[in-house]
């Protein structure tokens, strides 16, 4: 919707009436004509759950950010991710005749496929930024490649998402630089955050038999690691941050083994919907 004439043209008159003209709107969700196969649906759940869980976490920041401008910025990132989650879950649902909301609200923890890194709590602003920095860089490489997927729906979702996560990548990069080289306190917090989050990086790039069955459709996680490392290296160098050493978390999100955080997050997210089975909102 780049054409100005297509936008809401609103007449505000002195008598308190606000009139809104008809407007041409973009499609809210990316929907393909196809029905996902069970394997493609599983893969869409992987990606959809990552975006959903991360969006849920960012949603909790709004009205609590370090500055009002940042409330708006984090809100934009969260909104983009909710959009990706909805498109991906919608597509995953076509395989089993379920809606995006059936999948978001009526699955329990073991049926979620999110990575542990997106489940890690918001923590302080440095933790949120460290998580964003890692995940956005991964998502950018992922969607860049997924644009060429043989699955037209996944390719279309990725084509939109890649531009948005490119911006998320930049947003988190700017903040990594500032926190790492701002004050002593911010540097200390940034280093702590990065070392708290780093153990969860390995799981992101772990392959799974599902990927073998989706040759040409899914992006092989391990194949993204070199590009990820190459993209973050110059930022960390400029920020004078070292890649933390230490333990590698066991992970297991893709097979339904989750961190302890996910259950709390789902309990909050699903509480109202589950109190009213069959209701429409």
């Amino acid at each position: 919707m780049t054409d100005a004439v297509n936008k809401d043209s609103i007449e505000v008159d002195a008598h308190g009436h606000v009139a809104v003209d008809v407007t041409t709107l973009d499609a809210e969700l990316i929907e393909g004509p196809s029905v996902a196969t069970p394997d493609v649906a599983e893969y869409a759940l992987w990606l959809g759950d990552d975006s959903l869980v991360l969006a849920q976490q960012l949603g909790a920041w709004i009205s609590r950010a370090p500055e009002l401008e940042e409330d708006v910025a984090l809100g934009n990132v969260g909104l983009d991710l909710i959009g990706h989650a909805r498109s991906l879950l919608h597509y995953a649902g076509t395989a089993t005749d379920r809606t995006e909301d059936d999948l978001a609200y009526w699955r329990t923890e073991p049926d979620f496929r999110s990575l542990h890194i997106v489940e890690q709590p918001n923590g302080d602003f440095a933790h949120t930024i460290a998580r964003q920095f890692i995940v956005s860089h991964y998502l950018f490489e992922l969607h860049s490649r997924l644009r060429a997927s043989a699955d037209a729906t996944l390719a279309a979702i990725a084509a939109k998402a890649v531009k948005e996560v490119d911006y998320h990548r930049d947003h988190s990069t700017q903040w990594v630089l500032r926190l790492a080289q701002g004050t002593d306190e911010s540097r200390r917090r940034m280093i702590t955050a990065l070392s708290d989050l780093w153990p969860y990086v390995e799981e992101i790039f772990r392959d799974d038999p599902l990927i073998d069955r989706l040759e040409g459709i899914a992006v092989r996680p391990s194949s993204l690691r070199p590009a990820f490392d190459a993209a973050i290296a110059p930022v960390l160098a400029e920020a004078e941050l070292e890649i933390p050493r230490g333990f590698v978390a066991s992970g297991g999100g893709r097979t339904g083994k989750h961190s302890e955080h996910l259950a709390f997050l789902l309990a909050e997210m699903q509480v109202l919907t589950r109190a009213h089975p069959g209701a429409s909102w």
């Binding site: 505000v12 009205s63 940042e70 708006v72 909710i82 209701a279």
Partner: protein, 328 residues
């Protein structure tokens, strides 16, 4: 202060050229711009009104952001997030308008978190149910729009321009609230109860948003003379109720005023007595959530201090580095 508007004719006061220019601009329905001369009272009134308005947007994020993580569908979650984010944006537009009058954001923020500045009392009410997201949109934003649309023509240019942006964006806020209630009213018995209960709680506070009755509104007359404000509190309140009644019928909700009736003579809806004691209680800081709202704002501000300082320190270092490079 009032002498600028109604000069005391018995003893003619010489007014300055600037003052005459200011009066002429107001008279001609033109706009006052930031660097124009203006009476100190006009400036103070505007700073007070615009900053209170900005604070209301910022505190107003809280009752709704409470439900972002619990929104009952992904579509509603996205809408609510966008709406609360808009409110941060509206706060920023307004702070920026106030800033053109010489008020700094830091001072305004400090006054807010110290509990010295006012914001709309409506946001001191709790949001215990999802239906409150509907009522806030339909009733609270609806009342706000009635108040705000005339402000698009406020005599102070930056304020009017900020209000134009805000009004355009707010029209979605009211509609989404109406839709939430409509969905609930067309849903299960429990959902309908949720909606009605919420309308019962928000209706009167929304009417109080227009401020005290005209004969009890200390700042109104001067604001109207200066064309900051264009309609009286009671006028706007009446207009709002006239709009609500048919909308409530579409929703199928009952407005909780047994005395509400159509007056054939005036062709308006006459409302029952408003309980102003409650209004004054909430205004005096004894509302259900006053302390909590301020505490949360204070926490966000305090906990964000190290981030703001870090970014400022980084900027200083970078510009020092650039200067150093240039000097070589």
């Amino acid at each position: 202060m009032t002498s600028t508007i109604t000069p005391d004719t018995s003893a003619p006061v010489a007014i300055s050229v600037e003052e005459q220019q200011f009066n002429d601009l107001i008279e001609a329905d033109s706009r006052i711009e930031p660097r124009d001369w203006m009476p100190e009272g006009y400036r103070k009134s505007l700073v007070r009104q615009i900053s209170q308005h900005a604070h209301s947007e910022i505190i107003g994020m809280q009752p709704e952001s409470n439900w972002i993580t619990r929104a009952p569908s992904l579509k509603r979650k996205a809408i609510l997030m966008a709406k609360v984010q808009d409110e941060a944006g509206h706060g920023l537009y307004l702070y920026s308008a106030a800033q053109t009058l010489g008020a700094t954001r830091d001072d305004m923020t400090d006054a807010l978190i110290a509990g010295k500045a006012r914001y709309s009392s409506i946001f001191n009410y709790p949001t215990p149910s999802w239906a409150d997201m509907g009522s806030i949109g339909w009733l609270v934003d609806g009342a706000a729009i009635c108040n705000q649309v005339p402000l698009c023509r406020a005599s102070y240019g930056p304020y009017g321009r900020a209000m134009v942006r805000i009004c355009k964006e707010e029209s979605f806020h009211q509609r989404q609230g109406f839709e939430i209630l409509l969905e609930l009213m067309q849903g299960t018995e429990e959902q309908r109860q949720m909606a009605q209960d919420s309308v019962n709680r928000w209706y009167w506070p929304a009417l109080m948003m227009f401020g005290p009755p005209d004969d009890d509104s200390p700042n109104s007359a001067q604001s109207m003379a200066w064309k900051i404000k264009r309609h009286s509190n009671d006028e706007l309140r009446q207009r709002f109720v006239n709009m609500l009644v048919p909308q409530a019928a579409v929703l199928g909700v009952t407005l909780p005023d047994p005395d509400l009736h159509f007056n054939e003579e005036t062709q308006q809806w006459d409302l029952g007595e408003i309980d102003w004691t409650e209004f004054h209680e909430v205004l005096a800081g004894r509302g259900p959530n006053n302390a909590q709202r301020l505490q949360r704002r204070r926490d966000a501000h305090d906990e964000g201090a190290w981030v703001r300082e870090a970014a400022a320190a980084y900027a200083h270092k970078q510009s020092a580095r650039t200067e150093e490079m240039a000097a070589k």
